[in-house]
């Protein structure tokens, strides 16, 4: 057992356990907190893949931004409805069957075409490489992203405007 495999195993256990908790917990608020845990575990996985910049983005945008927005939405809607939101699930067995069948199908594909690629050593600074690629090769999608954010901002403001 190398340190790398121990780290990966620990992160995988935390990630899968918290993901299961997200979809199975009855209390919606607990569900969001478990989602935050699974997002942090994913950031750890990014670190194990030498992508420090993506781990930082993951923590800032996902674990910070998304979780805050969802918690805010829960608080607002609970106040509107007046009672606590508990969420029930339906057709658990059928859902489990379909999701399990999907997983078996994906794993069967993996078995048929095993990937033997080895991890190359890190060449230079990955964060620097991402930044250069973002502002040279991928500069058009990068600018389009700004337009998307503006549209999302205006759209969210329009949808959530107070009644007049």
């Amino acid at each position: 057992m190398t340190l790398e495999s121990i780290t990966f195993g620990g992160l995988a256990v935390v990630l899968l356990a918290s993901a299961l908790a997200v979809v199975l917990t009855r209390n919606l608020f607990h569900s969001v907190l478990y989602l935050a845990l699974s997002l942090v575990a994913t950031a750890g996985l990014f670190l194990s893949l030498d992508a420090e910049f993506l781990a930082a983005i993951q923590l800032l945008l996902y674990a910070g931004g998304v979780v805050t927005i969802v918690v805010f939405a829960i608080v607002v809607t609970e106040r509107l409805v007046g009672d606590r939101i508990t969420q029930t699930s339906r057709q658990l067995l059928a859902g489990f069957g379909i999701a399990g069948a999907l997983l078996v199908a994906i794993l069967a594909v993996f078995r048929r075409a095993p990937l033997t690629v080895r991890r190359p050593p890190v060449s230079g600074d990955l964060t620097r490489a991402i930044g250069e690629s973002l502002l040279t090769t991928h500069v058009l999608p990068f600018e389009l992203l700004a337009v998307l954010f503006l549209a999302a901002l205006v759209g969210a403001l329009y949808l959530a405007r107070p009644d007049d």
């Binding site: 993901a19 992508a51 993506l54 996902y62 809607t77």
Partner: protein, 99 residues
């Protein structure tokens, strides 16, 4: 760790998220399931980018993360709006378009 290990983990995470999307009745719960699925996709992208020594996959991950944040913000704005009008968050009750 092999690339296979990362892909298997991501596949499991994707299926868990898919399970959540199918079984949850609350719209916010469904959104959380979608988050898990997108997260699994991000793990795949970063793993492939790292193992092939190509940084494009990581740039693409930056895009998917940003788009997901916009999607969640809009999705929750819709949920709040629906709450205000219909007083419900259960997806089965939202059948306005049903003839």
């Amino acid at each position: 760790m092999t690339l296979q290990a990362y892909l298997t983990l991501a596949a499991m995470l994707f299926c868990i998220g898919f399970f959540g999307v199918m079984t949850r009745r609350n719209t916010i719960g469904i959104l959380l399931g979608i988050e898990l699925m997108l997260n699994a996709v991000n793990i795949n992208l970063v793993a492939f980018a790292r193992y092939h020594g190509d940084v494009s996959g990581m740039v693409f991950t930056v895009f998917t993360i940003c788009i997901t944040v916009a999607e969640v913000a809009l999705g929750l704005a819709l949920v709040i709006l629906i709450y205000r009008i219909r007083r419900t968050a259960v997806a089965d009750h939202l059948d306005l378009l049903k003839g």
